[in-house]
Symmetry: C2
Subunit: 320 residues, 2 copies
């Protein structure tokens, strides 16, 4: 018999509204019959959508943390914030394998730090799993949860990424690169220059040196370590450039009367550089799985995120 899982889903925070998230929940329930869902948000609204009561639990927490709030202040001042309640529930419920949220990243970080931090860690980090040219995946960490952090944090990111790639992708000795503006050890900002020697001597880290932004998708490393601001640029620029090129391909197809093959190629690229999944970040350093979907997430993104959680828990790779 298949094992039953519970996934906690924060219904608030997506630009598309809670309806889109609840729609995504339906997709998950239909596709995975061994999954139960705990939905957190506006109870009345959720109830009105007619989900199967035997597989869906509802927690009423209608408040949100916006991009204009301080997440830490919100944690202490607001009583019923959906993302905090969702992480708390995930921590308490033994059957819960993880949480999915498309709300404020900082709030999810604070919630994870408070309720789900791995005891060996000081702080979680938000990673993205980028498809690379070597037919593998590179774990980019951090992608925006830890902005302006220091060298010690970067060393911790190296461990978090190494653990993740070892466990999930069965890479025995993951190669760790440090994002910089040049591959030479002398290149970098103050932070990179301070971090480089620390990583070089760190036990348990297979450090290959500095890696430039142009090599993020090359497969030169399995883990790419960065402070959150620069890592965010790499993640989002990858997406933006892919969109620009795919748009050009479609234009070219139209202009030259080769729309069909242009569409095939664009579809192939979109599958390889799956934007919905690229948008899902995973919080490393937590005791359970914490997935951050982008703010623009719709039903398909929620289904995708649930699939990732199930893959990870069933010891498959991220996008299997």
């Amino acid at each position: 018999m298949k094992k039953n899982y519970t996934i906690v889903i924060d219904t608030l925070g997506s630009d598309k509204g809670p309806e889109a998230i609840i729609e995504g929940t339906k997709l998950v329930l239909n596709e995975f019959n061994n999954v139960n869902i705990t939905l957190v948000g506006d109870e009345e609204l959720i109830k009105s959508k007619g989900l199967p009561t035997d597989r869906v639990k509802i927690i009423h927490a209608p408040e949100t943390v916006t991009n204009y709030d301080s997440p830490i202040e919100a944690f202490y001042k607001k009583a019923n914030v959906s993302v905090f309640k969702a992480v708390e529930e995930c921590s308490k419920d033994e059957n819960a394998i993880g949480i999915i949220s498309s709300g404020n990243t900082g709030a999810l970080l604070v919630g994870t730090l408070r309720y789900l931090l791995d005891e060996k860690r000081t702080r979680p980090a938000l990673a993205a799993i980028l498809p690379n040219m070597a037919k593998g995946f590179t774990c980019l960490v951090d992608t925006g949860a830890s902005i302006d952090c220091g060298p010690a944090q970067l060393v911790e990111f190296a461990h978090l990424g190494t653990d993740f790639m070892r466990k999930l992708y069965k890479i025995e000795n993951p190669r760790v690169g440090l994002l910089s503006n040049g591959s030479e050890p002398t290149k970098g900002n103050h932070l990179v220059k301070e971090t480089h020697p620390l990583l070089a001597k760190e036990e348990g880290i297979n450090f290959i040196g500095n890696v430039e932004g142009s090599k993020a998708l090359s497969g030169i490393c399995d883990v790419l370590v960065s402070e959150g601001f620069a890592g965010n640029q790499v993640l989002k620029n990858t997406e933006g450039t892919a969109i620009a090129l795919i748009t050009e391909i479609m234009k070219f197809g139209k202009k030259t009367g080769q729309e069909e093959v242009a569409q095939q190629i664009a579809g192939y690229l979109m599958k390889t550089y799956d934007f919905e999944s690229l948008g899902a970040g995973i919080m490393l350093g937590a005791r359970k799985l914490v997935l951050k979907c982008r703010g623009s997430s719709g039903p398909a993104a929620i289904r995708s995120a649930a699939k990732i959680l199930i893959n990870v828990i069933e010891d498959k790779t991220f996008y299997e």
Copy 2:
């Protein structure tokens, strides 16, 4: 009669060796008959290549600044560094319109600061001109010359980029964006948060707010301001992602027996996202044109860079 120009070319610093740069010089001399060249580097080697002596002047300066040297130390300690001599020559020679170097960025910055700084400016910045989806160009500044700089520098970058896009692309009131990890004014690292209100109130700057890395090629702004480390990630990641996608297109063509059209599409993208030119950065804030070619520059890159200098001086757009 066509006006005669002199272009100063630093022959040292390219990974491909001075021979490749001298080969590029030949291309320039053949294509542009109103251009004279001053070559700086190893005199004996340059002489051995049989260039026309009536159009080529040689300056002997065989020393280099490597990626392992401190550029400022090298400036004061080494007597005959080609890039410094080249910038000095460009500053002194009335006919010289600009300099092309593919060596160390920091050394070119120091040379420019010392010999060619515009009197209104405190520091040059290295910009890249990115093709955008709105069929225009976005000036990304800084792309790696000013790492770990402060808010005042970023405001200056905004002016440098604005002046450049106004002069070169005839955009009356260039839209200036500030690279951040979110579009809301509350998003950013410390530097961005400090810079945002300064740009908002700065006279002569048409500030549109924070711009995410995913929008660098969108055409949402004409000037994208960033500290050099993060700007370098955007520039190099754009290139890396384009290479990854073009490689995938070729693979797809092979796999599906549609190699010819895949090749057409790849060629079209490579023309639009011209890597040789993307690799050429322009130093803003200098009295003359200072072009930085990438370290891997070969003959075509030198020819491309010379064409850019001529375009700019003849009041055409960058890539015309």
